[in-house]
């Protein structure tokens, strides 16, 4: 039985792929060339890793002229990321709105 988790785990198990993905998360959309410049491996190897990331739904590609731009798809991680992290961010945002409300209640 193949769980949706399995493909994500398998895809991110490779350190080079994980590094590419984390970089796209941190720095936003990048071309294959820009990713290759810092990956420490050749462009065909980077392209191969990107295609596997794409199959797993972790990145999306966008063609513009002769360039292909890749960006991270954070939604694909939802099944893996611990709910506590999501909820902490949820409550921080809600508390921002709560403080806004309290300020308005003064008036």
């Amino acid at each position: 039985m193949t769980e949706p988790h399995d493909i994500l785990f398998r895809t991110l198990a490779d350190p080079t792929r994980r590094a590419l993905f984390e970089r796209l998360c941190r720095e936003g959309e990048k071309t294959v060339g820009a990713l290759t410049a810092q990956a420490g491996v050749s462009q065909p190897v980077v392209s191969k890793h990107l295609s596997l990331l794409k199959q797993a739904g972790l990145v999306r590609d966008r063609h513009e002229g002769r360039q292909t731009h890749y960006s991270a798809q954070l939604g694909a991680l939802a099944p893996l990321v611990d709910w506590t992290g999501q909820m902490a961010r949820f409550w921080e945002t809600r508390f921002d709105d709560l403080e806004n409300l309290l300020r308005r209640m003064d008036q």
Binding site: A13, V81, E92, N100, L102
Partner: protein, 139 residues
């Protein structure tokens, strides 16, 4: 039964007195302004629903200590067990010199979680922690 629980704590110093904060936490029209639409009532045993654009959360009031503590269940049912969450949310208000320390503690578990993480084998916890750190930095 999987009894593995996790807790998330969010604390904030609020520059308003506990009494006023309590109103924002317990009056439905005020709750709607910062949390979600709801049919809340500050009565132990009262069942209510928090409704957001993305779905709803089923709640049961567990504790009401006026101006100090409010506790309710926070159950988010989802067909995909990875998103299914059974938890308890508690708000604690502590007066400070200039306002109130608001502490939100949410304790719960996802039935699927243990299976998904495979008991933290293969160092996955670490990878996921790193990813969470990356994601947290994006906000």
């Amino acid at each position: 039964m999987n009894t593995e629980t996790r807790t998330v704590v969010v604390e904030r110093e609020i520059a308003h007195p506990p009494e006023k904060l309590w109103r924002a936490l317990t009056q439905p029209h005020l709750i709607a302004e910062w949390l979600m639409r709801n049919d809340f009532a500050p009565v132990v045993g009262h069942r209510f629903t928090l409704s957001g654009d993305w779905g709803s959360v089923e709640c049961d009031v567990l504790t009401v200590e006026h101006g100090k503590t409010l506790t309710y269940t926070w159950n988010h049912a989802h067909a995909d067990p990875a998103f299914d969450l059974r938890s308890v949310v508690s708000f604690t208000l502590t007066p400070t010199g200039s306002g109130t320390l608001l502490r939100m503690e949410q304790t719960g578990f996802r039935p699927e979680q243990k299976q998904a993480f495979g008991g933290a084998r293969h160092g996955w916890e670490q990878h996921l922690t790193n990813l969470e750190r990356v994601l947290a930095g994006l906000d």
